[in-house]
Symmetry: C2
Subunit: 223 residues, 2 copies
């Protein structure tokens, strides 16, 4: 379902070039829960942004469902990002002048098969807070709104950048179980960046990234 | 050195009142490294904001170095926040149109006994990136700039809100060792919110907060 072939991503800053990712190749099957591990600055967010069509690779191919998305432009790219992808950003990117419920509804409006916003906010433990604005919520509560927004789109591919970074281990576990359940029930493919090794044990596949390239891939037959 | 006496903090949202913190009392000695643990939404950030003078309690006393800071107004409050406190916010709050070095220098300019910005950025592992802007850095790299900015002020009291949330365990450990070292050498008091139980073991004291109040206090004689 997802195939990265020899991906390279450079950032040119004046006279300096930063090789964020190079010689990066891996495959992910449909319906899999895959975890990406790696130290700070390894290139994890860069890889996730490339898979989600938020950025373009400097070289190499990204093939999703048989189509090269690195060649997408304009309308095709917008349609891919809107309909196929649910994204939980590392810094949430909530709309600050909309309530928790409105933030989730906004994502549902652009998606044909979306789920019910209130139900998803209940599932992440925020039924009491749906009419609050992001600044009235704690860090972990804001993160849970961002997770609800991505799941409610009922996407084919869910990309999560440290979705439980601001959560305590109990709350984090409940959120992961929700992701795992959604993944199984709707055959959604999930790619998740984390530093939490307990989460890595729940995944079908773990891809370890170091200095911008794949360091090791571990297959887990009984997650 | 720090004494919280029966602290209460309410947020009034129209007809609803949220009791973020109530009946919260504890003491912290000078030079101690204290960790605050608790689930998402427990009131940890609220307590840290109150100690740092970023917000006012609804009721109760906050006494730092024998002075009631909850009664501070205007100039006294600004002086307290500038000279005594180093703050690592949960969402970094870096100035986006300044480089990493300029962000740290800005904090040093307002402080009489500040340390050398370049040296501190080197100690957090960013000597190659000091001339980059926040958007050019990864999540963990931005967090390390925020940590360097707080330490470089050479404050009496360092308040950190999940300072290693975006870091892998190796990078996180190096940062904590830096904080522990700074704490010992300069007799700086450090209060640190975290979900990482390994960090809690490094502290002199652990304060567990649940539903807005102190649930348990653990003293650790050999951190
Ligand atoms: N400005 C505000 N208006 C209304 N409620 C608020 C406000 N700030 C915080 N709260 C509420 O107060 C409670 C405590 O929030 P706080 O940010 O202190 O939690 P926390 O322990 O830091 O959680 P996390 O681990 O998720 O960051 C939460 O239920 C939160 O929703
Ligand atoms: N816009 C940019 N311009 C220049 N360099 C960048 C840019 N974005 C990322 N980088 C660099 O590319 C490298 C990889 O960044 P990336 O954000 O993918 O790391 P990461 O693995 O997600 O790290 P973290 O765990 O700290 O979030 C880093 O060294 C970073 O500084
Ligand atoms: Mg990242
Ligand atoms: Mg918080």
């Amino acid at each position: 379902y997802i195939e990265l072939k020899n991906i390279k991503k450079e950032y040119v800053l004046g006279a300096v070039t930063i090789n964020a990712v190079e010689h990066c190749s891996f495959e992910i099957e449909k319906g899999e829960l895959v975890v990406i591990l790696g130290p700070s600055g390894a290139g994890k967010t860069t890889v996730l942004n490339l898979i989600g069509g938020m950025d373009k690779p400097t070289d190499g191919h990204i093939i999703i469902d048989g189509v090269r998305i690195d060649e997408y432009k304009g309308k095709d790219l917008v349609k891919y990002r809107r309909n196929d992808i649910g994204f939980v950003f590392q810094f949430y990117n909530l709309v600050h002048n909309l309530t928790a419920l409105e933030n989730v509804e906004l994502a549902c409006q652009i998606c044909p098969d979306s789920l019910d916003p209130k139900t998803i906010l209940e599932q992440v433990g925020l039924s009491e807070r749906i009419d609050n604005f992001p600044y009235q919520l704690s860090g972990g509560e804001q993160q849970r709104v961002a997770i609800a927004r991505a799941i409610a789109k009922n996407p084919k591919l869910l990309l999560c950048d440290e979705p439980t970074g601001a959560l305590d281990s109990n709350t984090g576990k409940k959120i992961l179980e929700l992701l795992q359940k959604t993944c199984h029930e709707t055959n959604m493919t999930t790619v998740l960046i984390t530093h939490n090794l307990v989460i890595a044990d729940m995944a079908h596949k773990v891809i370890k990234i170091k200095n911008g390239t794949v360091d090791e891939i571990i297959i887990n037959n009984h997650p």
